[in-house]
Amino acid sequence: MGLKIGVVTFPGSLDDQDALRAIRLCGGEPVSLWHANDALNDVAAVILPGGFSYGDYLRCGAISRFAPVMAEVIKAAEAGMPILGICNGFQILCEAHLLPGALIRNAVRVFVCKDQDLRVESVDTTWTSDFTAGQIINLVLKNGEGGYVADEETLRRLEGEGRVIFRYVNGNPNGSFHDIAGICNERGNVVGLMPHPEHNVDSLTGPTQDGRLFFSSVFNFLAAKV
C-alpha cells in the first residue's frame, strides 16, 4: 500500500475525484475526507481540491475555510504536514491565512480555461522537490477568480524568501501580481496554486504529465521522513 493522501470534499467541490484518481495513478493510497468531519483519518498529506465550494458564495473559499475539517487541516499544517491547495483549494488556504494574499476575479473578466505554461521558481517545498528550478511545465488552468494579489510588503517577502514557486509564462492569464501562479508558506509544507496538477497525470486526459511530479515529490518527502 502506498502513502495515504487525503482529499477533502466540500459541498461544491469539483475536482476531488480527479485528485483521488491522480493519487492512485501516482502510486499513493487516496483517502476521501468529508468537510463536516473533524478527522483526518491518519493521512500523511492533504489536498484541498478545485471546484466551487459553497457556490463561491461570499468569496471563494470564505465559507469552506470554517468547515470542521479545516480546524484539523490548520493544526496539521502548523505541525508540518504537506498540504496542497489547488485552485479553490488555494483560495481556501488564503482565506484560512495558511498562505498570505488573496485571489480575486480575473483581470480579463472572463473565465479562463487553457493549457498554461509555468516556470518552476522554487523546488524547496514538500510538493515540488522533484522539479528542477527554472523548468517550464504545462498544466491545466481553469478559473474565474485566479488573480493573485497581496500588499507590497507581502510580495517582497514572498520573492525574497523564494516562496513564489510557480510563475505564469507566455502571458499572464488572470492579472496575478508578479505573474504568480503558486506560492508556499514559510516552512514549505503548505503549497497553493491555481493550475491543476491532478488533470495532468495521464496521456488520455492531459497534454502533459507534469502533474505527476507533485505527487512523486510528496511521496519522496514522506518516505524520507519515515
Binding site: 468569496r59 470564505a62 494574499g101 480575486i104 473578466r109 488573480g147 494579489v149
Partner: protein
C-alpha cells in the same frame, strides 16, 4: 403617507436606538426590544483591481452614462436580536472582520440603521458623520427609508 426625508437618520448610537425603542411600546407591558438592523458595507480596497466595477463602468458608458466610474462592494444587513449594546456592536465588527470581509483585499464599515418604529423622533438627533461619507450615507438612508416605508405599508395593509 409620510413626508419624505423625515423618517430616518443614517447614524445613531446604539443607546439612542434602544431608548427610542422602549419609548414606543404600545402595549405598555415590558417586552424585548425589536430586532435592530446593523448594516455592514464591504468595499474592495482602492489599490485592489475591481473587475466587476470595471465591467459595470463599461456598461454604463455604453448606455450613455458618461463620466461615472464604479467600484462594486457588498452590503450586509444583520438583524440583531436583543438590545443593541456597544458589546453587541463590537461582536458585529468581529463577525465582519472574521467572515464578511477579507481585510487583505477589502475594507468594511459597520453602522446601525434607524428603527422604522420611530420615524417622527429621529429627526434632528443624528450623530455627525464624516464629511466625505455623509453624502453616501444620506443616500443609503434614503434607500433605507423607502424600504422601511414599504415595510410599514405592508404591515398596514
Amino acid at each position: 403617507m409620510r413626508t419624505p426625508r423625515m423618517g430616518l437618520q443614517p447614524v445613531q448610537t446604539a443607546r439612542n436606538l434602544c431608548e427610542r425603542r422602549f419609548r414606543h411600546q404600545v402595549t405598555g407591558r415590558a417586552r424585548l426590544p425589536a430586532m435592530a438592523r446593523v448594516v455592514v458595507d464591504v468595499m474592495p480596497k482602492p489599490e485592489i483591481l475591481d473587475p466587476q466595477g470595471k465591467a459595470v463602468t463599461g456598461a454604463l458608458a455604453r448606455l450613455g452614462f458618461t463620466g461615472m466610474s464604479v467600484r462594486q462592494g457588498k452590503r450586509f444587513e444583520l438583524e440583531v436580536d436583543g438590545e443593541l449594546t456597544e458589546e453587541r456592536l463590537a461582536e458585529v465588527r468581529r463577525a465582519a472582520e472574521m467572515l464578511l470581509a477579507n481585510t487583505v483585499i477589502e475594507t468594511f464599515n459597520v453602522r446601525v440603521e434607524a428603527s422604522p418604529e420611530s420615524p417622527d423622533e429621529a429627526e434632528g438627533d443624528a450623530e455627525p458623520t464624516e464629511p466625505d461619507e455623509s453624502a453616501e450615507q444620506a443616500k443609503s438612508a434614503e434607500q433605507g427609508q423607502s424600504a422601511n416605508q414599504a415595510e410599514l405599508a405592508t404591515q398596514a395593509g
